[in-house]
Amino acid sequence: MDPLFISGLSISVVIVVLIKVVVVFVFLLIATMLMVWFERKVIGDMQNRIGPNRAGPWGILQTLADGIKLFFKEPLIPDRADSRIFRLAPYLSFVPAFLVFSIVPVGGVFRDGHDGTVSILGHETFLQLADPPVGVLVALAMSSIAVYGVMLAGWSSGSKYPLLGAVRASAQMVSYEAALGLSVVSVVLLSGSLRTHQIVAEQSQSIWHWTIIAAGVVPFVIFLMAGTAEIERPPFDLLEAEQELVAGFNTEYSGIRFALFYLASFMNTITTSAIIVTLFLGGPDGPAPVGPALIWSLFWFFAKLTVFLFVFVWFRATLPRFRYDQLMDLGWKVLIPISLGWLLVVAAIRVANDRSYTFVQILLVALAGAVVLAIAGLLLSAAMRTAQRRRELEAVKGA
């Protein structure tokens, strides 16, 4: 493969890329539309309600109706808003949501010696829009850019609730990005590559090679939690807590600009699910009992995607919202240490595999690890006790 087209750029390459862009664009828009409907319907069922049932069969056109309504509403700009940034912010949040999906392999046969290529217009290509060598870093980078969208939206509104929401949002996204990145490192360690295509190929030998099993469940769980926080969905949606912040960073937005934020949040749900499927569940990998394996790979990818979309809706229906300090505690004191520790374990196992350690060597390493952990724990508790004693002494002196 030749992602940068060093070996020449022919008309068929351009057409193939254009087709892919259009397909991904249209797919994401339709999927977002259906996702909004799916979420409202499922959450309605879970709360003994009916959910949308007016527009189209089972209310499936509800999002379309909402979109048309929002399109014709007045997009208001507050007097004290910084109007240029105010107009830019929705796109900063909307465009990255699209771009993340470009690195997701949605199909392709990887098993039995195939390398996941398909032939379109006589041109060998992957079923993904782009396969940059930096791969998953693109996803992390895009989620970082999305922070700017949220932050600038809140800042430029010239209003206090959006500002508070934006401060919360950027703090949350920055904190959880650390845990997100560290859990991705475990995946990268296993596959030995940042390219999503390679990551999927490495997982595609059998179900036991899927990262969720090969790397232990821990990175997957951390990625799921940090990913939920990253896309600001419940239970981590305190940055748009209606009761406290009216609507958070998008309070002052209306009309089509609000619709962009709204769509971006649901599109982020889809892309995050797609990234989880790619990194941890083998992407389009799965058995192909009958018929062409390519169709099966598409089926497996979308089936896994749907499961995760449901899981996100399920989270929202079940879990109450975190408080701000609980959120920060979970991010910094639980998720980051665990993902760091797990990264060490995965790295140790990789090294042991590469050098084919004997049982005694493994035992020694494990023992050494346990000793280091115990000493670190003792030091930590001693430090905490000292700090507490000092605080108490200061309190006595102060009184």
């Binding site: 069922d45 879970m46 003994n48 009916i50 399920w314 229906a317 879990l319």
Partner: protein, 247 residues
């Protein structure tokens, strides 16, 4: 695992709905919730069972109305063709629903139970002219049913309007039903039964005896008895409370 139980709850809801398998949503324009027993809706002017109008044009309703939304003018009955059994009748009767607050004071003031409130609140007129209901619009039909105006949303059974207030009031002026029908018949419905949930005379006697008894044990026993009687007629106790200005 306490954390994970909640996921089970929401997941089961997906297939079963609430406990009895229903959703709580009422699809309003298609179906309606049953209305409260003494709901105050749009007024009707009633007739006696022989078709005579009950209104005698005394203007007490207009006088008591806190929103000043009722306009009544009485007139002597024509000798050869009387409209009401009394001396006079209301020949102009108008209620302005842009002002009416549905407090039911007009119903309480009416000495002949001529004006009562139905349970209809879904009448969305679109101009001020329609908002002022005239005597012809308020008066019940020849079969005793309220007139159905084009902008009103009557459903089957909703014209079973209740003249609730006076049927809660005994001749003594208290809100208790005292085993004596103290209200007149209505065209189309006859003499209506006492309001559902009102206490009957024997319950009252037990309650009074219990209050007067000296022996505390006796008090307790009869109190319990009164309680059980009260259970037979639910809502009996709270409804005794809204007795109106007479008490």
């Amino acid at each position: 695992m306490g954390y994970l139980e909640g996921f089970g709850v929401t997941f089961r809801k997906l297939f079963h709905g609430s406990e009895d398998g229903r959703v709580v949503t009422v699809e309003y324009p298609k179906k309606k919730r049953p209305k409260a027993i003494r709901f105050h809706g749009r007024h009707v002017l009633n007739r006696y069972e022989d078709g005579m109008e009950k209104c005698i044009g005394c203007e007490l309703c207009a006088g008591v109305c806190p929103a000043r939304c009722i306009y009544v003018r009485g007139k002597d009955n024509p000798v050869d063709d009387p409209v009401s059994p009394g001396e006079r009748y209301g020949f102009i009767y108008e209620i302005n629903y842009l002002r009416c607050i549905h407090c039911d004071l007009c119903v309480e003031a009416c000495p002949t139970e001529a004006i009562t409130e139905s349970k209809l609140f879904e009448f969305s007129f679109t101009n001020r002219h329609d908002a002022i209901y005239t005597r012809n619009e308020l008066l019940v039909d020849d079969d005793g049913k309220p007139k159905r105006l084009p902008w009103e949303d009557w459903r089957e059974g909703e014209d079973e309007h209740t003249s609730a207030w006076m049927r809660a009031t005994a001749p003594a002026g208290s809100a208790q039903y005292e085993d004596r029908v103290a209200w007149a018949g209505e065209l189309g419905y006859g003499v209506r039964p006492p309001e559902h949930g009102q206490r009957l005379a024997e319950d009252l006697l037990v309650a009074t005896d219990a209050a007067q008894a000296d022996d505390p044990e006796e008090q307790v026993r009869q109190g319990v008895e009164a309680q059980t009687h009260g259970d037979i007629h639910p809502h009996g106790h709270p409804q005794g409370g809204d007795s109106g200005p007479h008490s």
